[in-house]
């Protein structure tokens, strides 16, 4: 009887504690696949998403642990930088010489567009002017003796 009541107490304790334990685990706020695309494997210098080295697996495990702790993507990236330095980031931090990575490509695109905007109307004007000044090509002239011979030939072949 005593044994049965102890078992009942234990069973109810399990029922009560199970949801409490599940509730204690924080809900994940980031996904491994999302973070993997933005960080590097520090030993193989490849994006973590494609890296297969032992270090890549170690980094993934580290990220999984932080996700399980309920950390956000930004917090996880900060933790990775604190461990491995900024080399772990896929995109370098936007300061100092690294700014060129962010400024240069759009600046080059703008420069290209600007050049085209400046040059295209000029090229079009130039090609139009060329077309206007183009003179008709004169028909080749033939000597009257040759013309006469040609007429004779054509008449003969035409029957």
């Amino acid at each position: 009887m005593r044994l049965r009541s102890t078992a009942a107490v234990l069973a109810s304790a399990v029922v009560i504690l199970t949801p409490a334990t599940a509730a204690a685990a924080p809900a994940p706020k980031a996904s491994l696949t999302d973070i993997e695309n933005d960080v590097m494997c520090v030993s193989c210098h490849e994006p973590l998403a494609v890296a297969q080295s032992p270090q890549a697996y170690a980094e993934r495990n580290y990220i999984r642990n932080l996700i399980a702790q309920g950390q956000t993507k930004a917090q996880i990236e900060q933790a990775l930088v604190a461990q491995y330095g900024t080399d772990v980031l896929g995109k370098p931090p936007a300061h100092g010489f690294n700014l060129t990575v962010y400024i240069l490509p759009p600046a080059l695109v703008l420069l290209g567009i600007g050049t085209l905007v400046l040059l295209l109307p000029r090229w079009r004007r130039r090609s139009k002017a060329k077309a206007a000044t183009r003179t008709a090509i004169p028909e080749p002239s033939i000597a009257s003796a040759d013309a006469h011979r040609l007429d004779e030939e054509l008449r003969r072949y035409g029957g």
């Binding site: 580290y62 461990q83 330095g85 900024t86 240069l104 040059l119």
Partner: protein, 184 residues
Amino acid sequence: MRRLVVPGLLIVAAAALLALLGFGVAHQGSSSSIDAAVRKGDLPMAPSANMALPVLGAAGTEKLADLRGKVVVLNVFASWCDPCKAEAPILEQEQRRLAGKNATILGVTYLDNSSDSERFVRQQHISYPVVRDVSGNFVRSFGTTGVPETFVIDRQGRIAALRRFQLDNKWLSQTLPPILAQRS
């Protein structure tokens, strides 16, 4: 005059790009200059000697400048690096030989998780001090781009020898005695 504006702008832009490229390449590291100077016997001062680096597995920091007067075998390593595992017992053995000679090995972890580094230190029974270079700025000032790399710093704080790949007993036994024999 107007005809020259666009080509002029393009030339200026191309020149600016080339200058930027040159600047970037020039600031990539000083490995070749350090290597060349050491080869010539023109021993360069160890860079970033006053940079405080956190001690692995303990509170506090350590600077290379604090070890001035000692011969320092600075070994850059990471726990994930197999050659580093291979050379760790050699370095530990050397550390015991260096005791009493006013010299030490100083490990510097680079691109490594602190808990992995600590496990590495435990597994390899490393007794010499180990610091962490989280930013990578310290090792980059030595021109380091990978691991392992080893630099021998003499008692005057100059880089007297270096090895940009795995070291062995032979290299240590040939390199260290003349540097240890020098007075500060």
